[in-house]
């Protein structure tokens, strides 16, 4: 029997969501908010390692990276960016709804967020399938023969091994981002279930806000990933 359930005797006018060791709800909300922001700081450094590798290799092999990046479809990338931005909006609406006890708006925006999340993952799946078909997945099956380097005179061909390096980075970064999307979607399903049970209201909406912070962070990562991976050297 975990300890804090025993602690009911301590808190006077016990608010069900108030954990025993916090003095009041405000202290608890501030702690969760600070805790989540610190976790997001670790995530910034986690993706930071990948961005560092990307920065260094892109400066070394600019032409080949441009050629490899041109093989990605901008349409899908741009739609994914729009999808994520919309999901950020629905998340903000959800938090606002929880604060103002608007149950239907809360539930609908949460569900919309989850749907948009899965739309993003769907589009990502299509892109990955294209890469599989075009043999652009690093490994023995990788082939990137005679692809011209954009912006260079006609007979400049990209080096296959540098292109494989690009796709290694591409799959590492977008794969890690997609994994975070899946975790995010899972969190929102859990939040929706709790919202359905009516646990959130004007005086207790922290979980929705924390899930929102996480989702916005994952959106910010994609805001950087999209131009860096998709939009190198696209001009004629």
């Amino acid at each position: 029997m975990p300890d804090q359930a025993v602690s009911a005797v301590h808190a006077e006018g016990h608010d069900p969501a108030l954990l025993h060791h916090f003095a009041d709800a405000q202290q608890q909300r501030d702690s969760s908010s600070l805790g989540m922001w610190l976790f997001l700081a670790t995530e910034v450094m986690f993706f930071g390692g990948l961005f560092c590798g990307y920065l260094i290799y892109r400066l070394q092999f600019f032409g080949d990276f441009g050629a490899a990046s041109s093989s990605l479809s901008i349409k899908l990338g741009a739609t994914n960016t729009v999808v994520l931005i919309c999901s950020s909006l629905t998340v903000v609406l959800a938090v606002w709804a929880a604060q103002h006890a608007k149950r239907t708006l809360l539930l609908s925006s949460l569900i919309l967020t989850i749907i948009l999340g899965f739309v993003f993952l769907g589009i990502k799946g299509i892109e990955y399938k294209d890469k599989f078909d075009e043999h652009h997945v690093p490994g023995p099956s990788f082939s990137f023969e005679n692809v011209k380097i954009p912006g260079q005179p006609a007979d400049h061909y990209a080096k296959p091994n540098h292109a494989e390096l690009y796709f290694s980075l591409y799959f590492a970064m977008t794969g890690l981002h997609a994994l975070h999307m899946i975790i995010g979607a899972g969190i929102f399903v859990w939040i929706t279930v709790r919202a359905w049970k009516g646990q959130f209201g004007p005086d207790y909406y922290t979980p929705v806000e924390m899930a929102g912070l996480y989702w916005h962070f994952v959106d910010i990562i994609w805001i950087y990933l999209f131009p860096l991976l998709y939009l190198i050297d696209r001009h004629p």
Partner: protein, 315 residues
Amino acid sequence: MAGQVDAIYIFLLVICGMVALLVFTCLLYFAARYRRRAGVAAEQIEGSTPLELTWSIIPLCVFMVFFAWGAVVYFKQRTPPRDATEVYVVAKQWMWKLEHVEGQREINELHVPVGRDVKLIMTSQDVIHSFFVPVFRMKQDVLPGRYTMAWFRATKPGTYHLFCAEYCGTQHSGMIGSIIVMEPAQYEAWMSGGPAGPLSATGEKIFAELGCSTCHRTDTQGRGPNLQGVFGKPVLLEDGRTVVADENYVRESILDPGAKIVNGFKPVMPTFQGLVSEEQLNALVAYVKSLSSVKPAGTSASTASPDTNAKSQVE
């Protein structure tokens, strides 16, 4: 070089020794002097910012002296003299393969004359190794995929340890050898007994076999740039950058021609990645170097003394 490293080491040893001694005597003296005595209470001292500032600033200044002196020694260690005799080193899992420019090939041993600068041009065939000669106080990691340089000048004949200092697998501790420093006379005798011609000659042979000469012509303007006198000089690239044609540039141009295309030329050169072994690569680099008069050592046709040759070449 070893003398300078020892000098700075002793300098640090003395200063750090004094600081350590000072701290330890203070500790022991305070420990004895301010032992707990009945009725004598400790005197609360808040701390004194000026004192603390002094023992922050003074160490920083002393550290800057260490840094500056160390940086000077490091720079000297990292810039090989221009006229050093060159030895190509290929590190492989658990052995050192060394080739003199004059053509001698050695495994785990390096014969060098006393008093002459020796420049090592090193690369690895597999993992990271590290060329470490404790007596010369010299260590330099050897990386796969590019050249790293190191140099030394032996001052006393003898046989000295050569270790691999970067962990490289099962026989990491077996990857040792020796540097044999000989009197110049002995060295010449050892050299003359050596096999085939100089490394650049083998390089020339490979240059012809692989068909490089069809594009890189010396007489007329072929499809590839004329390599005469290219080595060591800045090269204007197609995208406006200028790079100095050093060993790494030549190596990269052979293995990855598209990376730095010379201004005014087409990227038609195929890659030789996987077609050329490390030893052949070293020979080709030695040959390209020998085409440029900057390097006097035992090169092809021109027999005139290096200085005049350099001038005539430049006009």
